[in-house]
Assembly symmetry: C2
Homo-oligomer: 184 residues x 2
């Protein structure tokens, strides 16, 4: 019935063809997000700055693992990057077999878990970096980014890839959900 | 075909009845999450501590709006709480009409948006509170919770409701997605 309608009516939107397009879009999104999270993880992990002079701080170099939140950010981006690498074969499977219902459900649930992890890591890092940029008057915390300018720039830049991957994960959940509800 | 199998086979799991149970579960979850986010928002907004003595800090009272992240936390919890209040009628609609496909899709997408907002607010607040508890040696930030002990306790407690609501939102997305894929 599906195969027949595919050639009979254009308006009927044949499920198999549509889901194939969705699956290819899914694969492209995953490859982009893989690159984005890899970039984020590497950018944060390599952000380091040594100051040419001694300040009132005891330490005169800044590294990502000075803040546990930044270390968490690197870890989560590496995990999500690894997940994307592993999910690509599953995504290819859904291109080859349009009715791969189990694969889609696994992808949606895992995407949801990764979305939670990545959103938490990116938000926590953003809030710490915001504090590092502005300081906090009431807590008497200084804006350390005034000293560690390059470090802060690189760390802030690494957020771009992470938030990009968050948006992609949300799109992936929506398009896979659409594919799942269509193929019945 | 569906209507016929409903009375023929018990193992066939009639779609209409199953989705009704899912919709009732959805409603219960929403009411719980409404209370949780309301509690979180109120707990954080009312957290305030005045110290009976002057410390080396210029200000001797702590309030939630000393940190922009805490103000964001209160705002997001209030938004999500309002969303749950508005989504309850829609959830009741899916109980009354089991095949309310559009309502379910709207609920899933809005749940996803709220999940993103709430995860980001809860994680950012957690990271700031962690810093307030432990301080940061390399940034020379003091552990202000040693002075503002009650404030920190109440702010930390308000995270429970928020993270509870995050878990409920994830479950809601999964069960609504299941209902959606079943009813075709």
């Amino acid at each position: 019935m599906m195969k027949a309608s595919k050639y009979e009516a254009v308006e009927a939107a044949p499920p198999l063809r549509n889901n194939r397009g969705i699956s290819i879009l899914d694969l492209i999104f995953r490859v982009i997000a893989l690159g984005a999270t890899l970039g984020s993880s590497v950018a944060m992990a390599t952000s380091e700055q040594e100051l040419p002079f001694f300040t009132r701080f005891l330490k005169f170099d800044a590294q990502y693992d000075d803040f546990p939140t930044f270390a968490y950010f690197v870890l989560v981006n590496a995990i999500v990057c690894g997940y994307f690498a592993l999910s690509i074969p599953l995504s290819i499977l859904t291109i080859a077999r349009s009715r791969a219902e189990k694969s889609r459900i696994i992808l949606i649930i895992m995407d949801l878990v990764m979305l939670g992890l990545l959103t938490s890591a990116a938000s926590a890092t953003t809030s710490i970096l915001y504090l590092a940029h502005t300081g906090s008057g009431s807590a008497n915390w200084l804006a350390v980014c005034q000293q560690f300018n390059d470090f802060c720039h690189q760390a802030s830049g690494s957020l771009i890839g992470s938030f990009g991957a968050v948006v992609i994960l949300m799109l992936l959940i929506i398009i896979q959900g659409t594919a799942l509800s269509r193929q019945h």
